[in-house]
């Protein structure tokens, strides 16, 4: 594949995932509102937010390192889009995607630390701990499908294996891995039980506190793209992926995606925020151990 086609794929994936993610974010807000007996925002809300943010003044704090401050959100959004595009076109390797999906959090950490704000520092300290926490179970959740498809980590291999011989979520270790993946994804996207890095009430959105204008919009966009790409990744790993060959197959893929998304939204709306030590104990104590056990199970063929 030459570089031109790669760029074309990337741009198409970026636009598709951006629109998709903003709609998914609306679903998340709307569902939260309906569960609280509110009406909730209209469907175009997140698009309006983004356009508005692009029209606002972009402030760079005096104490900030302006180069890093500007590049952090740009890198976040590009990495999220790259990971999403790879998942969407089922190219690349699960381990590569694992790396790319970690970059948006790193971007938030670097941007927050360059902004020179005290509350941002509290936010990034939490974000770092959280990153260390959820990456371990998430890696476990990636290893299980790789083992099941005969030690192949290529996404296309994992998906075609499932389309030939049944989805991985049908086995014991598959179910465990699926649950672990959903929980770690919740932490990765920063949805409520694990939103302590941007806790609005106590540390005023943490690492993003000094961001304004389009830079803040880019952070929102990268989160939106993660909200589209993350569940898609889980669908590819455990639920047999999706394909766009016929309308029926596309609808089935969409349903799988919605299943994961709704699961995450329900988790979000039924749980209070955890404290950082509780979150770490949950990820390292509970989930990671369960992940190792599931890997063992997958190894002996369950």
């Amino acid at each position: 594949m030459n570089i031109f086609f790669m760029a074309l794929y990337f741009i198409a994936g970026f636009i598709l995932l951006g629109v998709w993610g903003l709609l998914a974010m609306w679903l998340e807000r709307k569902a939260a509102a309906r569960l609280q007996f509110r009406v909730g925002p209209p469907w175009y809300q997140n698009f309006a937010d983004l356009v508005k943010l692009s029209g606002k003044e972009m402030l760079i704090p005096e104490r900030a390192n302006s180069l890093v401050f500007i590049f952090a959100p740009v890198v976040s959004v590009l990495a999220a889009a790259a990971a999403g595009t790879l998942i969407l076109f089922r190219a690349g390797d699960a381990i590569l995607i694992l790396y790319l999906l970690a970059i948006p959090s790193l971007g938030a950490i670097i941007g927050g630390s360059s902004s020179g704000n005290v509350l941002a520092v509290v936010g990034i300290s939490r974000e770092i701990k959280l990153l260390l926490g959820y990456e371990l179970p998430f890696a476990c959740a990636v290893i299980i499908p790789a083992l099941k498809s005969g030690a192949s980590t290529s996404l296309a291999g994992i998906v075609s294996q499932q389309q030939a011989g049944g989805v991985f979520a049908g086995s014991v270790s598959g179910i465990a891995g699926f649950v672990i993946a959903v929980f770690s994804l919740q932490g990765k996207i920063g949805l409520v039980p694990f939103d302590l890095a941007e806790a609005e009430g106590e540390i005023a959105t943490g690492s993003q506190i000094e961001y304004s204008g389009i830079l803040l919009g880019l952070f929102k966009l990268s989160r939106a793209i993660l909200l589209a790409a993350g569940p898609l990744f889980v669908v590819s790993l455990y639920l047999g992926g999706f394909n766009l060959s016929s309308p029926g197959a596309a609808a089935a893929g969409m349903l799988k995606y919605l299943l994961v998304l709704v699961l995450m939204i329900l988790l979000k709306n039924t749980n209070p925020r955890l404290r950082i030590d509780h979150a770490l104990r949950f990820f390292w104590g509970g989930l990671a151990l369960a992940g190792m056990a599931a890997i063992l199970l997958a190894f002996i063929g369950y």
Binding site: F37, R38, P41, Q45, K56, L59, I203, A204, Y211, S212
Partner: protein, 138 residues
Amino acid sequence: MDIKKRAFKRSLWVYHLSGGSCNNCDIEILDCLTPRFDIERFGMVLVGSPRHADVLLCTGIVNKKCVERMREVYDQTAKPCVVVAIGACACSGGIFREGYQMAGPLEKIMPVDVYIPGCPPKPEAMIAGIVKLLEKIK
């Protein structure tokens, strides 16, 4: 009207700034977020940082300790940003007009776009005020 203005009107992010209020106005602001009034259907959300704010909701007489801080917060917001004075205190001084700590009203500190009187104003009054504000942004 261009698209950015329209988006701005559909997505007002609110930052709540108290300049020595008696806390009653602040409670009424929170009322706007409850299921009965639910301002999120107009795209308004409460944000935690002045950098994200499109609207500053200011309550209270501005007392002498607060003046510098309120100016600072106003300077920190990303423009365009509108300022709403909520309650009799912020509009004119209210019952604390003769108080020894009075340094306001708010319009002495920053340019105010909308005044919503009342002690405290009802949530309906605040929503009506915001609607008038939206008509003003053209």
